[in-house]
Symmetry: C2
Subunit: 392 residues, 2 copies
């Protein structure tokens, strides 16, 4: 299509994505692709649109949740059961490079828009689908929610403290991991299309993606029989390498070798710990990790997190605050990397969204994003572009 | 290059990746690309190789951690400070499509292999870098560890229970999120190269990627001033939508509307809860979420998780076990989707690794993976291929 993308440059410049997806897994993938320069046209249900438009909190009635995930996209409302709207959809599909949807498997087929139909009609179209459980298997037709796949997929069994119940990862990693893998697959399919001339269908399941981010848990358990559990903030084999409590809160110390441990004990004013027979090597420190925590926190209790970070930084001992959101936004490194972007939203007002973490050397980044579109906001310009065109 | 990829088909068939990366962020990205059919040649430090080869647990002396992340790759050991090995590196770079590294920024420049040098010499080469803080900004030269960026990036402030200290996400999401974004960027750059004929450098920072997965936290906080906190397993606005305790453990109930809540109260044998003035609507249930948990757990205490899951499934109330790793591996959906793959490792023996979650419709999946390579295991075959070739 001839329309200018919302991000004016980028690796995916010239790519147009028809995005039928709602809420998070699909929209998160298309946000990443929009930030890479693709043009993303949200195709929404007339009247209500993307379900996340109803998610609070709101600013002047506009969902901040929706606004966070849908910058740099356009919107057209189409009822795909209506013949006129379906004709518009086909004209758009004929010109698009990618279609994204996150319906339950079978929904697109019921609309007459399944992969077989679309592939036959638009052989270059890449089709990216994300669902809870994917196109196959006994649970394929089940609805999934983020917390359901976090629970089924194992990550909750590893998150939290051993003496507390499992914790949910505090962001919707069930949806977002699926969105990330979907974006990888779509880009690989676009590359492949340059060789074969054909699109393909990518079938992403939220549950599969949870299994894919278990690091070594499956491999280690299957061979050793030791079931990995919850460790709070501790590292499975290195100590000290966790959160510790100071006078006014917790922060992280990551002293992964004897040299760094020695420096740490000096900063703490407890050089005796470095020669303590319980703590002489990493293996010993790991074996006596509770006693080590007690000794370290005894020393830390006298001063604030801020004081300790300054002192440890000065000696080169790796450490970090546990930033809350305001502190993340105030972080100088986050600012230097343009990871918080201001958006002038005509409804919500001035808002902030996360930036694009895929930095390309020598390619300027936009200093602002186009605000997340109102429902059907781009209908007239989109219709004007396709006026008189056929759907083949 | 002419060598056959380890995954014999896939969207990235024909792509060769020179992988200088170690431990997790880079190797996780190249694992994803290898599973998509790219040929990945690990370039390792002679003697020790990838640091993760020393990470336990071990099977017959081979790291299971390393084995989990490095299937479908080849290995050659090169000392890039040695002229002979450097010449081999250049012959490989001349033929590769992608180079991946996750050194601290500046390391490749010190080796004379910075982006400017490589781009001038190999203009088609895509260069993918992952580091803690990226090529720019005040922290660029700092070392980072997963727990450091999890702490700095805000996800820990959202994870865990409100009355406990923050929890680390129980997998290395700091590294793996960076690996996922790196893989997205590399594939987009490969696509872009088909248009421009030129490679580009992708500069991924672990911290940036943590900011990018905060969902709506930045947008919502910046507008409302409400600092998002830890919610255990609870949803910020929907109830009941969390983990609950039954007779023998916790499991998840996600009854997101009045209809599902009504069904839940019937299964619990507590239909009175549906008409209780505290619980009549989702907003009321959310306002009284502690009281709701007390009532639900009173009812759940009499029976096991297994009993309740059966009863709730029969009524169509969304619910899930909180699977530990053995239960993830035994899950019929995980099996049906080939998300646990057996590998016959000549050293470690029969092992299991996570499968590829990027499923392509109509493209057969390999039923096994090539085992993670021994250090320098593919030297002779790689040298035979490049014998007599120039590095231009």
């Amino acid at each position: 299509m001839s329309m200018a993308p919302q991000v004016t440059d980028g690796l995916l410049k010239g790519i147009t994505i028809l995005d039928l997806s709602r809420v998070l897994a699909g929209p998160f993938a298309t946000m990443i692709l929009a930030n890479l320069g693709a043009r993303v046209i949200k195709v929404e249900i007339p009247g209500t649109g993307d379900d996340s438009r109803a998610f609070g909190p709101f600013s002047n009635g506009k969902s901040l949740y929706y606004s966070a995930i849908n910058c740099n996209k356009e919107s057209i409302a189409l009822n795909l059961k209506n013949a006129g709207d379906l004709a518009i959809f086909h004209k758009l599909a004929a010109k698009a490079d990618v279609l994204v949807e996150n319906y339950r498997p079978g929904t697109m087929e019921k609309l007459g828009l399944g992969w077989d139909v679309l592939h036959a009609r638009y052989p270059r179209l890449v089709y990216g689908a994300a669902s809870g459980f994917g196109d196959s298997g006994p649970f394929s037709q089940r609805a999934a929610y983020d917390i359901v796949v976090q629970g089924m997929g194992g990550i909750m069994s590893l998150t939290g403290y051993p003496d507390s119940p499992p914790a949910r990862v505090g962001v919707s990693i069930g949806d977002m991991a699926a969105g990330l893998y979907l974006a990888i697959g779509i880009n690989a399919a676009l590359y492949r299309r340059t060789i074969t001339g054909k699109g393909c269908k990518i079938d992403i399941a939220m549950l599969d993606c949870q299994v894919a981010i278990l690091e070594d848990a499956i491999t280690s358990y299957a061979k050793t029989g030791v079931i990995p559990g919850r460790l709070g903030t501790r590292h499975p084999t290195v100590a000290p390498f966790q959160a510790y409590k100071a006078k006014d809160g917790h922060f992280i110390i990551a002293a992964g070798n004897d040299h760094l441990f020695g420096l740490l004990t000096e900063v703490l004013g407890r050089p005796d710990l470095a020669t303590d027979p319980r703590f002489k090597t990493n293996d010993l420190r790991h074996d006596n990790v509770d006693a080590l925590q007690t000794e370290i926190e005894k020393a830390l209790a006298s001063r604030t997190v801020s004081d300790w970070i300054d002192a440890l930084d000065a000696k080169g001992v790796p450490c970090s605050r546990i930033n809350d959101i305001p502190h993340v936004m105030a972080d100088p490194q986050v600012a230097a990397r343009h990871m918080v972007v201001s958006v002038n939203d005509p409804v919500a007002g001035q808002i902030k969204v996360a930036g694009n973490p895929i930095k390309i050397v020598g390619m300027a980044e936009p200093t602002t994003f186009r605000p997340a579109p109102g429902l059907d906001a781009d209908r007239s310009s989109i219709l004007a572009e396709i006026a008189g065109e056929s759907d083949e």
